[in-house]
Symmetry: D2
């Protein structure tokens, strides 16, 4: 059995030794260990991958014992991921297709190890792409008056299909508290600017107007404050006075799809930990 | 004689032909021409370098005729730079030395073709570096009460030495209207963030707190609104959760000095045009 | 009528003026002009876009007159592209799908303004993707003994469909003289390394073995010397000791598809000029 | 007491646990641990920083016990660095000053925690800079006939001053076996290309001639094969057809000095491990 364990807790002496001793006592061999201490916040983070000799190890026993002998003592919050089970990822889109194409082609070629139970959109434009890839497509239109009802429909689908996390692939609607609260640090958005610059609507127009020489894209977990959630991944590209807003948008598309896909992969591989509205990204 | 000409004016048909015809009629051979049209603002920009057969060409005649036959007709604002005369550059610093070292070593090795009549600082820390490089150093301390008087002293020195432009090499004081108005688009600042993100004080602390994955530096002309002037040059570098604020600052130093020096070189080579609080940067 | 003109010739005084005068005399207004002189090789390059008042201008007259009054005198080689007619682009692939997906999704969403008469592959793996996008797919297997015959089949298809240029989207066969000679500077390849480092087979393995800290991808026109043709576009990404060859390959895929698509776009927009086995890329 | 320990050995189960147990048994608290396994070569690497409760711990006892109980059993090669003692760094230069200025200004401002007992050059050009910074300068000219004698002089100075490592800051002479053998993985060079492209002389000329769109700089340990030693750090910058060789050289200077300084810092902080002509770089 192979497992990945993520731990964070108040920093104190002896944690690494205590955890490695515990893993050893359970017949585990650590094949990857990385840790980080935020000195300012005094928080310890660790990610470890371990092989266990026996495949018949009881996971519930393991978890109970870990809790009793380590987690309680060190006030740890921790997660255990048994193997490479594929998480269920829902995709929300509107009208732009570049991020959707990128995610689906990676999924299709086996690069992105997830299941995609469905795509939700408030528009019909991208239905043909969903069909091209054989993914169920749910059209849930949204108006001011129907927003709450539409979110209920979204939540029904998420629950029914036991969705693990949601990717907003240029979904042009603000997701509200109702959904965010149920999927904390489980909704990944791509924002088409180098946050915190140009949060909100029309960031390429704002970047053009400000005359920046570099534009960016940012993937982050969605929180209630717009475009202010924990940043998972960012990237940038150079622009010049010679580029129009249309050029910014075209260049930005390439950034957006790459940055979003990187963030999704990190999430799927359990390499992201969130605290204080920031992320620790293990390599 | 070799000259560089910068032109901007409302866009209309025939400008390039009209200018090239004028240069030709004066015995000039264009060795570089680049132009740009801001379609939104309908402004035409051109930079050209030209060799003239005769060295005894009268520059005032040239300018008069250019004004009469072109500039007035096309509502051009234009500049003419005769040759590679070295502009006079004043440097303002406070306590950080990395940008100062970088500028002075480029100056010393002949990479930066300027004259440096003096360095002004509100602190004494960097006086030894000025002495190391043989540049006059003026210590003008600044307190709330003496700020206006200090700026008068600065302006006296700038005038006395016929300074062409000023470089704020991590100068930790806000320059006021009194100085800015006299040196519009002639004061180059380096801000230690990827503007417009993290304008104002302590940008590395703010970037760390926000959990960004990339930090930057921005060189811009100083205007009355803090850190909001026309951007000349920007660059970025990747950071991670593993970097402390101290690491951000150390990585940022390398960005700051390179970005500032690039901006200064562009300015010295007459490759920057300013309009609508933005820049056109010719290659 | 709008047209793009590309010119190169030995450098000499007066070319820019002569060309702008000619365009003016034909009722043309230059809306974009960029030029470059390779001082070492003494070659002048120019790209200009021009609007002509009249739409009924005779292109053959224009070309004849341009030849007589300019091209012959200045020994120009030049091209004239009337408007935004969509060139015919053939795609050659083997087994990797990421570049194909990227090209087809850009084509499908109207970002890439070409026609795609067919896809050729020496394998059947990617036929479903061609079908997904409704593009004819020709399976032309290649063995040592059938290579020449296979190339004849390829050439028949290229001729029959009046293909303007060919994109090798990770096509894992060496294209021979027979094809190259007929499509000089018209076959665009993507090589998965930062050329000239790691030319030839298995560049990611070679990069891993050498312990580089950055990997790259290079798009170039195909010439008879393997991976040695004129470079159109390159990009790189950081790697570390922690990345396996498999990681290099995954990171490389993102580089390859972006770099290839950028190169294809530059070619389609007539922004590439080739000389001395190098390219001039106009912005 | 604070110490940094670097370990590498054949990979096998239980190493991390064994080492953390040993550190714990000596009253050490691990404050940083990072490890890496090269799966292909089956080698395990670890870097750890540890605080020890007692300052009077006997280092020789610690080392003996570590050897007996761990190193012999696991066939470890390991290093122990007690604290932040400043290593002695010699600088070799020729005529270019940008890397020297960069190193000395970082040294002078306390960013680079080393001692610099002397600078050696085969030319006199940079003597004034050494004097500017108060560092002893030894002029050791080199001709074909005197090379061996000159190297003896160099070695005498290195020994006399107990130099820990050597930085070749654009030193334009090939260092021979005689010196390399005595300072294995202790001589850091900066090569002005993106290795392995353009090894050897005049890389900017070669890059210009090949028409690359990106140039780079590479810092590596010196081995007997020219420009083929383990790479510590690389960086790149974009170029275009519009840049001359002179522009390549100017842009390259900024890369060279930053890349070399980063490599020197990594070395000083014991973050580099070398094996199979490659490096592991801990963050």
């Amino acid at each position: 059995m192979k497992a990945t364990i993520l731990i964070h807790c108040p920093d104190q002496a002896g944690i690494i030794f205590a955890v490695t001793r515990f893993i050893h006592s359970k017949g585990g061999n650590i094949i990857y260990l990385d840790q980080h201490v935020d000195q300012q916040a005094n928080i310890f983070f660790m990610r470890l991958e371990s092989n266990f000799e026996r495949d018949d190890i009881s996971i519930s026993d393991f978890k109970n014992e870990f809790n009793t002998s380590l987690a309680e003592r060190y006030l740890m919050k921790w997660s255990f991921y048994k193997d490479e089970s594929r998480p269920r990822m829902a995709i929300f889109v509107s009208k732009y297709n570049h991020c959707l194409y990128d995610l689906l082609s990676r999924y299709h070629s086996g690069e992105l190890l997830v299941r995609i139970p469905f795509i939700i959109s408030n528009h019909l434009d991208l239905q043909p792409i969903a069909e091209q890839f054989g993914i169920p497509f749910h059209h849930i239109p949204i108006t001011k008056n129907t927003k709450s009802e539409a979110e209920n429909q979204q939540l029904s689908l998420l629950r029914e299909h036991e969705v693990d996390f949601v990717v907003l692939a240029r979904y042009m609607q603000i997701v509200t508290e109702k959904v965010i609260d149920l999927y904390q640090n489980k909704i990944i958005n791509i924002h088409h600017s180098f946050l915190p610059a140009f949060a909100g609507a029309k960031p390429y127009h704002a970047a053009f107007s400000r005359g920046v020489k570099i534009i960016g894209a940012t993937s982050h977990y969605v929180t209630q404050e717009l475009d202010a959630g924990p940043i998972i991944e960012q990237d940038v590209t150079a622009v010049s006075h010679a580029h129009s807003i249309k050029d910014f948008i075209a260049k930005g598309r390439d950034l957006e799809k790459i940055v979003l896909s990187r963030a999704v992969k990190l999430h799927v591989q359990h390499k992201v930990m969130v605290y204080n509205n920031k992320t620790v990204i293990f390599s």
